[in-house]
Symmetry: C2
Subunit: 475 residues, 2 copies
């Protein structure tokens, strides 16, 4: 029976944040480990969070005229090596298929870590004229990167994501696309995940292998560390020249296309856990929660309670709310803890006394606020309360970010701020300063701040400062 033992309690966040995180991933049944290190099983409760993210993004992608496609999961090794910067960035960590079991393959096949080269090859074949542009493709799939250190959702040998790959006739249009997708990701945070993402451009050192510019959405976790939660890349003509993707422009001249790519992954599930969770368990924002409301009957054998709770369940379901009715034999107390641990945004308690008083108790998971709502108004009020919960969670997370951006004018001040957690704004000379900071403190450049310099001189190298950066320790 030893392999059947489940985690029984959650470590507190202050005691060991990393342990709290993995305890929660397992106990809330978001995932399980498989027999291969770094490959996880997305259980229904975890996978459904991803499906809710997919629904939102698919809607936004379609509104902006993107089309879904599916490309092969393998890339011939020789093809992968065609764009130099790209292969240098990815080569150390690619799984390879070398045999069909019966016979060895003539060429090793890389299991896609990302699909730029596949899209580029296809685009070279199907794009001929400006009339074929833009191509606005997106694919949902899993990718494989041979990471040594892995952690559920945050870093895995395999993860789920979407990767958009687009080709355009002009630089301007491609740059607009890059920023448009960054905005959609920011909206995903604001409207669905209740996470205020900081958006910005990455430094040369931190940008994607092969990109001219990489834009990022960064989230701040409860423990003060940052998490890169999605990226949008402008490639210019780097890939189109390497793969010869040309089109006849309106003046009948042959030109290379301008490209972008952008993606978010199941890492967002990790962000949701670490931004909102508390010592009792998950706290899920309503628009991403698999169950938005749980109804718990008090004295569940009472026939009036059965009727009222069943009716309420039907009414909420008819309104499109993701509702669960737990009429099992467990005690109300057990159920309260269980659904708190699972992070269900609202709990509705209804017992015989409530029915007599014609009210129900509604409890918000994120701040434990208790509301007394007349029974008759319940089903019409719940959508509003869910919206309220979403907004309160967003505001709380925003407040956490705002309180944790500090400005440093000296390197000592920088280090002291860093130890408080959160972001530190610093003006630096360039890549050399980034490397010293990484070496000394473990912090990395999260995003370039498009503002005036904090200091004229870089406090790290004593050279002339050229840009202001938000630094943080990060996952």
């Amino acid at each position: 029976m030893s392999n059947k033992k489940l985690v029984d309690s959650i470590t507190s966040r202050s005691e060991d944040f990393a342990q709290w995180y993995t305890d929660l991933c397992l106990k809330a049944e978001l995932m399980d480990y498989s027999d291969v290190q770094g490959f996880i099983i997305y259980r229904p409760y975890g996978y459904n969070i991803w499906e809710n993210i997919q629904d939102y993004l698919n809607k936004r992608f379609k509104e902006t005229n993107h089309q879904n496609v599916y490309f092969p999961m393998v890339i011939p090794e020789s093809l992968f090596q065609k764009e130099k910067d790209h292969v240098e960035g990815f080569a150390p960590e690619t799984a390879m298929i070398t045999t069909s079991g019966v016979e060895d393959l003539a060429e090793r096949l890389i299991v896609r870590p990302t699909s730029e080269v596949l899209f580029a090859t296809h685009y070279a074949k199907v794009i001929q004229s400006h009339r074929d542009l833009p191509k606005l493709y997106n694919q949902w799939c899993s990718v494989v990167r041979w990471e040594k250190t892995t952690r559920p959702f945050l870093r895995g040998k395999e993860f789920l994501w979407q990767e958009g790959h687009t080709a355009h006739a002009t630089e301007e249009e491609a740059r607009e696309e890059t920023l448009q997708m960054l905005d959609i990701y920011k909206d995903l945070g604001k409207e669905v995940l209740a996470i205020p993402f900081i958006t910005g451009r990455k430094t040369e050192r931190e940008k994607f292998a092969g990109a001219i510019e990489t834009y990022t959405i960064e989230a701040l976790m409860y423990d003060g560390k940052a998490l890169q939660s999605g990226t949008s890349h402008y490639f210019g003509q780097e890939f189109s020249k390497a793969f010869d993707i040309t089109f006849q422009n309106k003046d009948s001249k042959l030109e290379h296309v301008y490209q972008t790519s952008w993606g978010v992954s199941t890492r967002l599930i990790g962000a949701v856990i670490m931004v909102h969770g508390d010592d009792e368990g998950l706290v899920l924002p309503p628009y991403v929660a698999p169950d938005q409301v749980v109804i718990i009957p008090i004295q569940g054998k009472n026939s009036e309670v059965v009727d009222v709770t069943n009716n309420l369940f039907d009414e909420l379901k008819a309104k499109g709310i993701r509702v669960k009715l737990d009429d099992s034999n467990r005690s109300p107390g057990w159920k309260f803890s269980e659904y708190e641990m699972k992070g269900v945004p609202l709990r509705i308690e209804i017992g015989p006394r409530d029915i007599k008083n014609v009210i129900a108790t509604v409890v918000k998971r994120h701040n434990r606020e208790k509301l007394q709502i007349p029974l008759k108004e319940l089903s019409s009020k719940i959508p509003e309360i869910l919206k309220e919960v979403h907004e309160e969670m967003y505001e709380k997370a925003l407040d956490h970010v705002e309180k944790n951006i500090r400005i440093a004018k000296t390197y000592d001040e920088f280090k002291a701020h860093l130890d408080l957690g959160g972001y530190v704004k610093l003006s630096i000379s360039g890549e050399k300063a980034e490397e010293i900071i990484k070496e000394d403190t473990g912090a990395t450049a999260r995003a370039i701040v498009e503002e005036d310099l904090v200091t004229e001189i870089c406090p790290v190298t004593n050279e002339k400062a050229t840009q202001t950066i938000l630094f943080a320790r990060a996952y």
Copy 2:
């Protein structure tokens, strides 16, 4: 420019059905080949057909309490070998990851050809009590099987599918599940694909590696060949014993669970093409078509025509119809051929004369029927007409099946019928007869017919007949 050449015309079906099929797959932009033989690119028009199938099935799966999950794409070689029959069925055709590029793996990883062993391993861990049952999981993913001969959608080294894997407390419940999912697949044919599937049980020789019983949905292609289009398996306790998946039943006794699995794949896209297509191109059933209606303005510069067609487009879109307005500079004639080739179910033509007469011409793709519909009634009538088209297409396909089921009492009669295409019903003694038939004619047992025997003696072996089978040549 040679690699940019596109297919310009479609071979006719009677001339070369196989060539017609691949011409169409490419020219209708359903797919493209990649650089690795057997791995195809699902282009937007092809992938969207799959998305429409997914939408229908996800709805039906959820109504029947199934939950989506995602399991790893790799299986350790040793784990794969745990269920003997299963590994024998799959071993010759599995791709293996053996290296991360930098260092060889301690154990070879099989890229999943199907995921029974992964689900079984997880179920062994998380199922403890009858309260944990049933587990009704489904996953959408791609799988890899190292097929030598490949053909777009029909047989590939990689394909997309859904695989359901369930665990139950009783044999009865698991058997019900197996048949319930078969029914849902049959409904998919009837309600979405306009394909009348023949459903039935597979023979011992044809069943899935490791299953006790395999049920199948079989479709009849235009050329008279059958296509296995989906399967639902009852496993009994085969896997639960091999993987030790036990639970405490209501009497507190330890029992092994009863399991099922079931799946359909992107092969269904091939079925849609080959059941409905004609010499002008694709003919798509309305509920699976990426575009259900195309509006083609005649004299598209005319401002009245612009207004009327734009309004119609908005109205149809608001009704949730997938509509396209082609107001490009191409000639109406070019557009007619283009959308016929792409199989758009309905074409609406509107020109200045139509506006004067307050009517529009609506043309059904599948039978070229032309309808004159008053402009005012158009947007309300279109949903009805789409339904009509769906039903007519289904009836036509059903008629094709019914006319192509023949009964044979002698082996000569069997062979003669077989050469006409379609199914031949024959009573046989068993596996030996199946093997002789396969050897002599290339035909295989598609499904067991649950009826009285046609003959008491098997015409192939002259032994006592034990079951009646639908035979056909198949893809």
